[in-house]
């Protein structure tokens, strides 16, 4: 299930939906939050923009890729857009699988590729004004490392 929304999500509710099938021995979830620092500046909040339509397609393709790599049952990807304040939840990734290692790996794969492929853009509100974030080379490297890992 893929959702791009302004509203917050409740982790307990999402967990419940992921954890209903007895065939699954593992549920792994990840939550990304608005933190209070970036590049030495105090962050007060962020504004998230996205490309409606393309975002959902990219996330759906990532889910398909993950399902091709690991035995997954349920997959949930939620990403919020609009104005968010310090400490708020931004993104939820949850997967269920019969196996622990598959669930961990798929969850990490999904967040790593969401960060480098899905058309979202963050604008930070700091003490020095608002500023669009630059993409990090380190995030691209992390995504590239997957191609090595998955070829083993």
């Amino acid at each position: 299930m893929i959702r791009v929304q302004q509203n917050d999500f409740i982790v307990a509710d999402e967990y419940q939906k992921l954890a209903t099938d007895n065939q699954d021995g593992a549920v792994v979830t990840f939550v990304g939050k608005v933190r209070d620092f970036n590049e030495g500046l105090g962050v007060q909040g962020l504004s998230l923009e996205h490309y409606p339509g393309m975002t959902e397609k990219v996330l759906s393709n990532l889910e398909t890729e993950a399902r091709g790599q690991w035995p997954l049952n349920k997959v949930t990807i939620i990403h919020r857009v609009g104005d968010l304040t310090l400490g708020e939840q931004i993104v939820f990734i949850g997967v269920s699988s019969p196996h622990r290692k598959a669930a961990f790996a798929a969850c990490e794969f999904l967040i790593d590729f969401l960060k480098t492929k899905a058309p979202f853009w963050k604008k930070e509100l700091t003490s020095a004004g608002s500023k669009w974030l630059d993409a990090k080379a380190s995030d691209d490297e992390v995504a590239q490392q997957w191609s090595t890992k998955l070829n083993h």
Binding site: Y51, G53, K57, I111, A118, W121, K123, W132, A135
Partner: protein, 82 residues
């Protein structure tokens, strides 16, 4: 017509989120980029940003991708979600 979209920093720099241009024969994403860059100095600077990305019909592509009438072409900076 070809629908052109701009997002994030580009949208703000250009004060434009969407425009339409007439379609012509045998044009590519690079042709559209150049055409937009010819608007004025501001557009030239923004459209020649090295890190600029382009998508045609909601799929990331390169600068030699051909574009036809009815296509949706989007320009945007590298993504920073998650």
């Amino acid at each position: 017509m070809i629908k052109i979209l701009f997002f994030a920093r580009l949208r703000e720099q250009l004060s434009t989120d969407c425009l339409q241009i007439p379609a012509s024969e045998n044009i590519t994403t690079e042709h559209i980029r150049q055409q937009l860059a010819n608007t004025d100095d501001l557009w030239a600077k923004v459209m020649r940003t090295d890190s600029l990305l382009v998508a045609v019909n909601q799929q990331i592509t390169d600068w030699s991708h051909s574009v036809k009438s009815g296509d949706e072409v989007a320009f945007f900076p590298p993504v920073t979600g998650g």
